[in-house]
Symmetry: C2
Subunit: 189 residues, 2 copies
C-alpha cells in the first residue's frame, strides 16, 4: 500500500476514535454512565454498531480509552503550568493550583469514580509525583523550599494534601488549600 | 425477672460478643478475610453455630461490628492523646501523630479496605474532624495556629495531609509528615 494511503487510513482511524470518545463523553455528561451503552455511543457518533465494534470490543474499552485521554490532557495542563515562566516557587504554585482545579472539576464524575483504581490513574499519579519532585528539587537550591525533608516525600505530601480537592466548596477554598500546602514546604530560614 | 439476673444476662451477652469479635479478628489476622466464615468464627470462639447466629445473622454483621469496635477504639486513643497535658499545639501534635500511627498500622488490612465506604468510617472521620477543629480553635487564641483560614478548613487539611499515612515507609517518615502538616498550620507571626 502506498505510504500516502496508509497515512490517510491512520488519520481516518484517529478521527474516528476521537469522534467515538467525544460522543461517549457527551453521553456520560448528559445521561450518566448507566445510559452509556455501545448502541447509544454508535448512534451519537453517527456510525454503525459494527463499525464501533471494529474500534472497541466492549464498553469497558471505550471507557478506559476515554479516561486515559482525560488523564493525558490533565498531565499536559500540568506540564504547561510547569513550563510557564517564573521562579521555581511560582511554577510550583501554578502546578498545585492547576492540579487542585482539575481535581475539583472532576467532582461527582461517574467515570472518574469508576476508574479510581485503574492503571491509568496510578500512572497519572506517578507522573504528577515526578513532575512535582523535579520542581521541588529546583526550588531547594535557591532556598525556597525546606531541605530537611527529601523532595519525593514533599511531592507525596502535596498530592495527599490536595487529595480531597474535589470536595472543597469553592475556588477560594481551593486557593486557600494550595496556600496551606505551600506553607508547609517553605524554607523556614 | 429480678434485676440481678437481667444484669447477669446482659453481662454474658457482652462477654459473648467480645469473644466472637476477638475470634473474628484473630481469624482475619491469621488466615485472611476469605477464610473467615461463620463456621470458622464459631469454632474459633468455642461456641455452636446456632449460638453465633443468635448474636449475628450473617458474616457481614460480624465484620461491621468488629470494624465499629476498631473505629471506636481509635477514637478513644485520639481523645486520650487530646486530653493529655500540654499546650494546644502539643496536644494537636500528639493527636496528629496518633492518627498517623493508627492509619499506618492499618496498612494492608483487608477489613479496613472492605469497610472503606462504610457508615462507621464516615462517622469516624466526622468525629476526628470535630476533635481537630476544637483543638485548632484552642490554638488560635494564643496565636499558635494561623487565623487566616477557618478551623474547619484547617481540620480538613490535616485529615487530607495524612490520608496516605498507611503508605508511608517508616515511623520516621510518619513523623516528618506530621511535622510538614503542622508547619502549614503555624501562625506566621
Amino acid at each position: 500500500m502506498p505510504k500516502i494511503w496508509a497515512d490517510t487510513i491512520e488519520l481516518h482511524r484517529r478521527d474516528m476514535q476521537v469522534a467515538i470518545l467525544d460522543a461517549t463523553a457527551a453521553l456520560i455528561g448528559e445521561q450518566g454512565l448507566g445510559a452509556t451503552t455501545m448502541l447509544a455511543i454508535a448512534e451519537r457518533a453517527g456510525i454503525g454498531r459494527a463499525t464501533l465494534y471494529k474500534y472497541f470490543r466492549e464498553l469497558d474499552e471505550v471507557l478506559v480509552a476515554l479516561h486515559e485521554r482525560d488523564v493525558a490532557s490533565h498531565l499536559a495542563a500540568l506540564e504547561a503550568a510547569r513550563d510557564r515562566q517564573g521562579t521555581p516557587w511560582q511554577r510550583l504554585e501554578r502546578v498545585l493550583e492547576t492540579y487542585a482545579r482539575l481535581a475539583h472539576a472532576e467532582h461527582g464524575s461517574e467515570l472518574v469514580a469508576r476508574m479510581r483504581h485503574s492503571e491509568s490513574v496510578a500512572r497519572g499519579f506517578q507522573r504528577l509525583h515526578q513532575l512535582l519532585q523535579a520542581l521541588l528539587e529546583d526550588a531547594i537550591e535557591p532556598r525556597l523550599v525546606r531541605e530537611d525533608v527529601a523532595p519525593p516525600e514533599l511531592a507525596a505530601f502535596c498530592i495527599a494534601a490536595l487529595s480531597d480537592a474535589h470536595t472543597l466548596p469553592s475556588q477560594a477554598a481551593l486557593r486557600r488549600r494550595v496556600q496551606l500546602t505551600l506553607a508547609a514546604l517553605r524554607a523556614s530560614g
